[in-house]
């Protein structure tokens, strides 16, 4: 596979996170788009590629948005792939830049959260969901993940205290990232353990909070980014795989197992050289699957890994091993802005590697790994993706 040389990612923006909003997705996408180009000093007319990620656009799509925003792109794309949207967007956009199909691409994710909209979205998520999972208790993704979590716990002996390690360190990170919706609250082990039970082993702080918000970034050539005098990141490697391991009875691994080796080989780094990791954390068990499948520990050993590893952004925890993980609190503390949540880890990595992180910056970070996971169609997540980003070589 051809590498992603010469492509720059820049101008990460997280916009307008709120628990509930009467605004529609087009508002979140439009306002995020405006911030993204403003921050980079790019004119709207210069944007000739436009990619959109959203679950709540309804009858609108990326092309109807071009008329709303009065732009005339020669390249459009839409990635409604939940937690893998960010990685899929950066891969597609990078190829379009390399091939000259577009010169400046804005990738924008945005989702609304009106009263009862999450219930509606969960009830019509997909054909399988409508016919075969929503009628059984209507728990939304909580149900599928409680079954996966239950199975994982029994198989590997993982306990709630282990899951708490992920939630607690992420809350600490969120306390230093102002847009995080739960960032103003601390979380103790006692509070975590005593939280309201939601589904089987899942309690309140194991579940993401759906919210509204927008995430966006720009993709262009390195030359163009240098010309704009903007700090940027490069893509060392990126991979995706969909409907991996279809014959597994229940999800204990994702597509990462199939491409992790190629991912590291292309990037010419190993898991031990990664300075910060952003996993897709709609539930702690999913972060554990990613850490295992991406080689940070062996399958089933995530419980040992999290008990040995300090995952705070500044390494201020007491544990000896350090790995800054979900350095802005992840979705568990920042909130899950629908499909835009698929950009959260990517944007956080861009901020860290372009020195735009304000209070939660990881010291001396050079290489970051992002992992994406998306689309619970029936009993498992279908999309897996991962990318390794780095500061440009000067």
């Amino acid at each position: 596979m051809k590498n992603y040389d010469g492509v720059a990612l820049l101008s990460p923006v997280s916009f307008g996170y709120s628990r509930q909003s009467a605004r529609s997705a087009a508002w979140f996408i439009g306002r995020t788009f405006q911030s993204v180009i403003d921050n980079a000093g790019v004119k709207k007319e210069d944007v000739d590629g436009f990619a959109v990620t959203s679950f709540s656009l309804g009858s609108d799509s990326v092309v109807t948005l071009t008329q709303q925003f009065q732009i005339t792109p020669r390249w459009i794309e839409q990635f409604p792939f939940g937690g893998a949207s960010g990685i899929i967007a950066l891969r597609r956009a990078a190829r379009a830049i390399q091939c000259g199909d577009a010169e400046i691409i804005a990738c924008i994710g945005g989702d609304a959260a009106a009263h009862r909209s999450f219930e509606h979205q969960a009830s019509i998520f997909s054909g399988f969901t409508i016919d075969a999972s929503f009628p059984y208790g209507a728990g939304g993704p909580n149900t599928a993940f409680s079954l996966i979590t239950q199975n994982y716990m029994e198989k590997y002996g993982t306990t709630r205290e282990d899951f708490a390690r992920i939630s607690l360190d992420q809350r600490y990170n969120a306390n230093h990232y102002s847009p995080a919706l739960l960032g103003h609250k601390t979380l103790s082990l006692n509070e975590y353990m005593k939280a309201r039970q939601i589904a089987g082993p899942l309690h309140l702080f194991d579940c993401v909070m759906p919210c509204a918000g927008g995430e966006g970034f720009l993709v262009m050539s390195e030359d163009r980014a240098r010309h704009l005098k903007q700090p940027y990141c490069v893509i060392r490697s990126a991979q995706e795989l969909h409907n991996a391991h279809p014959t597994d009875e229940i999800q204990l691994r994702g597509g990462w197992t199939e491409f992790a080796e190629a991912l590291y080989d292309t990037a010419e780094v190993g898991p031990d050289e990664i300075d910060l990791v952003q996993t897709y954390d709609d539930y702690p068990v999913i972060s554990m699957l990613q850490l295992e499948d991406l080689g940070f520990c062996k399958k089933g050993d995530a419980r040992v890994f999290v008990q040995e590893t300090d995952m705070r952004f500044d390494g201020s925890g007491t544990l000896s091993k350090k790995l800054p993980h979900n350095t802005n609190g992840g979705q568990l503390s920042a909130g899950q802005a629908g499909a835009a949540a698929g950009y959260l880890g990517l944007n956080e990595t861009l901020r860290q590697l372009t020195d735009k992180a304000v209070n939660n910056s990881v010291p001396r970070a050079k290489v970051g790994l992002i992992s994406g996971f998306g689309m619970i169609n029936y009993d498992r997540g279908l999309c897996s993706g991962a990318a390794i980003l780095a500061r440009p070589k000067i």
């Binding site: 409508i130 016919d131 075969a132 009628p135 208790g137 728990g139 079954l147 039970q197 939601i198 229940i250």
Partner: protein, 189 residues
């Protein structure tokens, strides 16, 4: 319609929590409706590809293996083993919100001996007198279908020994689980 009646009907539509009667989700795709129809009065019928000799679930337009559409509804045995089971304490849907406020709602995924993996309600009372919620992994079980009070076929997991031969025995289980009647609210609309 008087203004009062109109406002009431709007309120009933917009605020499920105010309804006198809440029912399980009724919405299905055309394939889901076909599944419901095929299972009326039957203990379990699933989509079957006559070319591949293979069952599949959830219902789909084409065979997952050969991508042709020589699919029929065929009686399935329903035996299998539990993959994972859990209980819901929270739901997005008013019917289950009212049920889970009384006691947790048990569900399970089951691997049928004939192939498909099915997502089902769990007849937890058939196991250990309902006192212990936990049904151990890989327990041998039986899955059958029946209609709920939204008149849609749903799948239920029970013990291998439970009698599910007749419509009456299946109806009893569904009634015991609280699926045969709406969840009521006193003074609701």
């Amino acid at each position: 319609m008087t203004t009062n009646e109109l406002m009431k009907s709007r309120l009933k539509y917009n605020r499920p929590s105010l309804r006198a009667r809440a029912r399980p989700p009724k919405n299905r795709t055309p394939l889901g409706e076909a599944f419901s129809a095929a299972n009326l009065g039957r203990s379990l019928k699933l989509q079957y590809c006559i070319d591949c000799n293979r069952f599949q679930y959830p219902s789909q337009e084409v065979c997952q293996a050969c991508l042709k559409d020589n699919l029929v509804w065929r009686e399935a045995v329903g035996t299998g083993h539990i993959i994972s089971q859990t209980a819901l304490f929270h739901s997005l849907w008013e019917f289950f919100k009212r049920r889970t406020s009384q006691k947790p709602w048990p569900v399970a995924t089951v691997a049928l001996d004939q192939g498909p993996i099915v997502f089902t309600h769990l007849d937890v009372e058939a196991f250990d007198d309902g006192k212990i919620l936990h049904v151990s992994e890989r327990t041998q079980v039986k899955v059958f279908s029946h209609y709920d009070c939204s008149m849609r076929s749903i799948l239920i997991t029970t013990t291998k020994e439970t009698d599910t031969q007749t419509r009456e025995t299946r109806q009893q289980i569904v009634a015991r689980m609280g699926l045969s009647k709406p969840a009521f609210r006193d003074g609701g609309i």
